[in-house]
């Protein structure tokens, strides 16, 4: 299975540098670092869960099928895998728009690749004495062995999603975790929970979980599993496990201290990556703004157009000889209005959410870069300490050794995930804009047909009238 194979490869990539594939996997299981499910960052305090047992054999299967022998090929296949995996949420329960159906079809070519299906729906409002909040129903269907059952239904609120994201970030500091929709959008919101907002959020949350499910490493994360399957009380007790407030605070303080020091020298490829991320972030934000603005302008255009047709009807009431022409124009204008509405809804489904997700992704990426830098900074500071202080050299050397591994692991994880992310991004952007172009073509084709049929009717009448005169 694709996902498992990928997971294996991730482990391979960041684990031992010299071992072959199969050996690597077994060996890396024992380590505290390099566990695909446990996380590539060795220092994650909690969540080092045992590897799912069944994955080993399937990874082997995958390797055989793909006939690998080199590390580099792992990455190639890795990214090939990623391209096979459809990043648009596939869900058996979701009402799909025609556009996402296209993606579904692509997906169904390899049905056996996906073994975890998640849907997010049915937002419900809950009112307590302290607060009001919304929960979403999450249905999970799976054939994986490590799940106790094949179907689960739970309710989660936004806070729970936040918790999950934080856990994933902790466990995999240099993996590109999918972004969550914003906590709240202040601008232009009258009511905190209006229907549009809830629907947009629901879709984004759905995407969030599916992206995690499709991620070769994250999909095996234990917290993820708990999130999908645990009942409310189970989840809260699970949440309480793990590092207390203080240790987390301590971590943050240390991280801040490290970031203050700055990174001495970032490897070349990460400099490039950082550069890309900065520019990408700028551009995607601009595109987001432009797209939102276009939507807004279209809405205002539609509002004015709605008045345009009726005036012609009004006029036709005082012109007996022009009734046909005027009513014809009015009907064309009204049809164009409807088509404009379709165009707008197409835009808001196909383009806007994709662009916006990548805006959030770009923020996420900057966080990932930072975390990577922090891990390296830790190593650097210890190395500095070694060269300056003479005390405890042995201890320091041992620590440095561990940190070097950690840095290497983190870097490799990021590199691999980066390629995967870029590939997905390209596909998503490409299909989003292609869809937008299609929507526009469709819009103009519809309008063209409307006006052409009006024109034909008018010119036919002309001919009729002329021939009548001649008679």
């Amino acid at each position: 299975m694709g996902t498992l194979g990928g997971a294996g490869l991730a482990a391979a990539a960041c684990g031992a540098r010299t071992l072959g594939m199969e050996g690597e996997r077994r060996a890396s299981q024992a380590r505290s670092s390099g566990l695909p499910a446990g996380g590539a960052g060795g220092e994650s305090p909690g969540g080092d869960a045992p590897l799912p047992g069944s994955s080993g054999s399937s990874a082997l299967l995958q390797a055989e099928v793909l006939d690998l022998d080199e590390d580099e090929d792992d990455l190639e296949v890795f990214s090939k895998d990623a391209s096979l995996m459809d990043m648009n949420s596939f869900s058996p329960m979701m009402p799909t728009s025609p556009l996402s159906m296209i993606n579904q079809v692509k997906f169904e070519d390899e049905p056996d690749l996906k073994d975890l299906f998640i849907t997010v729906d049915e937002p419900e409002s809950h009112v307590t004495t302290i607060e009001t909040f919304i929960t979403y129903r999450i249905i999970t269907k799976t054939s994986r062995g490590e799940f106790d059952s094949s179907e689960f239904e739970v309710r989660r609120r936004y806070q729970d999603f936040l918790w999950l994201k934080e856990k994933l970030e902790e466990a995999h500091p240099t993996l590109i975790i999918p972004p969550l929709p914003e906590k709240f959008i202040v601008k232009g919101m009258v009511e905190r929970f209006n229907d549009d907002f809830i629907e947009t959020r629901r879709k984004a949350l759905h995407k969030f979980l599916n992206r995690i499910a499709d991620h070769p490493t994250l999909t095996f994360n234990e917290d993820f599993k708990v999130f999908l399957t645990a009942q409310a009380w189970e989840l809260s007790s699970h949440k309480k496990q793990g590092p207390g407030l203080f240790s987390r605070m301590g971590q943050t303080v240390r991280a801040v201290a490290l970031s203050m020091r700055g990174v001495k020298s970032r490897p070349e490829e990460f400099m490039e990556m950082n550069n890309f991320i900065e520019i990408f972030s700028q551009k995607i934000n601009l595109i987001d703004k432009i797209s939102q603005r276009i939507y807004k302008e279209q809405r205002e255009y539609l509002d004015e157009m709605k008045e345009y047709g009726p005036i012609h009807i009004l006029w036709s009431a005082s012109e007996e000889d022009l009734v046909d022409s005027l009513k014809g124009v009015a009907s064309c204008l009204d049809k164009c209005c409807k088509t404009t509405e379709e165009r707008m809804s197409g835009l808001s489904e196909a383009l806007l959410p994709v662009i916006h997700e990548y805006v959030l992704y770009s923020e996420m990426l900057m966080g990932v870069m930072k975390r990577r830098d922090q891990i390296q900074a830790e190593l650097d500071s210890k190395v500095e300490a070694l060269t300056s202080k003479k005390a405890d050299t042995d201890l320091l050397t041992e620590e440095i050794g561990k940190l070097e591994d950690k840095v290497e692991c983190a870097n490799n994880a990021l590199k691999a995930d980066w390629e995967r992310w870029k590939q997905n991004m390209q596909n998503d952007i490409k299909s989003a804009f292609t869809n937008m172009a299609e929507e526009n073509i469709h819009y103009y084709e519809q309008c063209l047909a409307t006006w052409e049929s009006f024109l034909t009717s008018q010119t036919d009448l002309h001919l009729e009238e002329d021939s009548e005169d001649k008679l």
Partner: protein, 491 residues
């Protein structure tokens, strides 16, 4: 050029001009685009009964506009735009055109011409001038009179005005119009010498003129009785009232004529209201459409910048961006074409005003007629009272005689004589007024029918041209987005 008779009650007779020729219409405009609209059919058959000096076709064009500075009446510097009017005559055989006249006129001179025509042809729906100031502008359009786009559209509008006048069966024969096209210097003086301003009924200009025409349309008759014999109308209620008057009231044709004018007035109000509403909405729609297109232009810039960091996507992004720029800039031409469409509608917006002017003139004619009839009736009554010695109505004279003694029979005779003379005169006047009134109605109605047909043709064509514009816009859109889609799919 003959002077119109001083009697303002008679329809002034403008100087008949050697006609410009049968098909003064269909004249090509050197500037091009607006010629379509001016393709009226020529004046109807039988209109050209006078000498046909000009058998050739005439082409009129307003070909240029120029900014000028000069001194105005108060010797102050001013800037204005002058328009070059060129007249060509077309030889039948080979269709070659020869420039016969060319002169410069400014907008105020056009206004003068039109005001003259309004006075001398009150029964004609006189073609309107393009607007003096830009109205119904959407944000990109400038409201400045000196703005080159506005000047250009005005040039076309002025040309259209001249073509309309030249293709009108009656107006085209006017000498002042002919001189407008041919006599550059001194034309203003010539027009003013006609004394048309004096003839102009100031009441016509009164914007809120509602002359209490007691008998505006005989609508009561028409609605309830439909009988030309019924005389219970308005204030003309007296047993022995003017024969002349009542006889005319019985005239069915006249009754329908009056009714038609009220209907026409309502129609022109509706036309004006609906077209101005339409133009307002159109301007707003244009504004919004402009916004939609132009924002897409931003994609072009950002795509181009983004493509710098992308290896595989770079080319696709870059070329797609180019198409976004094309899309964004295409709106300028589209909306410029639409502006011409708006101008076509505006012409009919102003035509509504011209229609109203004819109605108002009719109202005034009716009002004068009724006043004259009333006056006559009261004189007749006075006469009768004097003759029979009965005082039926209150009169100051009656009072004074009671108070201060009766007059002598001689005095009374004298007065009766005077009254009888006046009555005679009055009856003559009333007769001729009636005749004029009926002439007016007949002629006005003929022109209104002509106008209606022109309007129906023109508006239908305008709507069709609007559809054609939309079709062209859609085709452009399809092309741009198909190109863009190709670029996207190659990313």
């Amino acid at each position: 050029m003959e002077q119109a008779p001083a009697d303002r009650e008679r329809l002034p007779q403008p100087a008949p001009l050697e006609p410009l020729g049968r098909r003064a219409a269909g004249l090509e405009s050197v500037a091009g685009a607006e010629a379509e609209r001016a393709r009226d059919e020529g004046p109807g058959d039988g209109m050209m009964t006078e000498n046909n000096f000009w058998l050739k076709k005439i082409e009129i064009s307003v070909s240029e506009a120029e900014k000028r500075t000069g001194r105005n009446a108060m010797n102050m510097q001013e800037t204005y735009t002058a328009y070059l009017i060129e007249t060509r005559s077309v030889e039948h055989i080979d269709g070659q055109s020869v420039l016969t006249d060319s002169l410069w006129r400014r907008y105020s001179e056009f206004e003068l011409l039109r005001n003259y025509l309004l006075v001398y042809y009150p029964h004609i729906v006189v073609p309107p001038l393009p607007e003096k100031r830009a109205e119904f502008v959407w944000h990109k359009l400038s409201a400045d009179n000196m703005d080159p786009d506005f000047v250009e559209r005005r040039r076309i509008g002025l040309e259209n005005f001249l073509l309309r006048v030249a293709s009108h069966p009656i107006l085209c024969r006017d000498k002042i119009f002919y001189l407008f096209l041919t006599q550059e210097g001194n034309w203003k003086e010539t027009v003013n010498e006609t004394g048309f301003q004096l003839k102009a009924d100031s009441r016509l200009k009164a914007l809120n003129a509602t002359f209490r025409v007691k008998n505006p349309d005989n609508s009561v008759i028409r609605r309830h009785f439909r009988s030309p014999l019924h005389t219970e109308v308005g204030g003309i209620r007296d047993g022995e009232g003017s024969e002349c008057c009542r006889g005319d009231l019985r005239n069915d044709q006249r009754a329908t004529g009056k009714w038609r004018f009220t209907e026409l007035k309502h129609y022109s109000d509706e036309l004006q209201s609906v077209i101005s509403h339409l133009l307002r909405v159109r301007a707003r729609v244009a504004d919004r459409l402009y916004g939609v297109y132009k924002v897409h232009g931003n994609y072009g810039r950002v795509f181009s910048e983004w493509s710098a960091i992308e290896k595989e996507m770079g080319d696709g992004l870059q070329s797609a961006g180019h198409h976004m720029d094309v899309y964004a800039s295409s709106i300028d031409d589209i909306l410029e074409d639409e502006e011409h469409y708006a101008d076509q509608l505006k012409e009919y917006l102003f035509y509504a005003e011209a229609l109203r002017a004819v109605c108002r003139k009719h109202e005034l004619t009716q009002y004068d007629l009724e006043m004259a009839a009333q006056d006559l009736a009261s004189k007749k009554q006075q006469c009768e009272e004097l003759a029979t010695g009965t005082v039926r109505t209150f009169s100051l004279k009656g009072m004074t005689t009671k108070l201060f003694g009766q007059e002598t029979p001689e005095q009374r005779e004298a007065r009766i004589k005077v009254l009888e003379e006046q009555i005679n005169e009055g009856e003559q006047q009333l007769k001729s007024k009636n005749l004029e009134g009926r002439e007016f109605v007949k002629n006005a109605w003929a022109d209104i029918e002509r106008f209606k047909e022109q309007k129906n043709r023109d508006l239908k064509e305008a709507l069709i041209s609007y559809a054609i514009m939309q079709i062209s816009m859609c085709k452009k859109g399809i092309q741009v987005w198909t190109n863009a889609k190709e670029c996207f799919s190659k990313m």
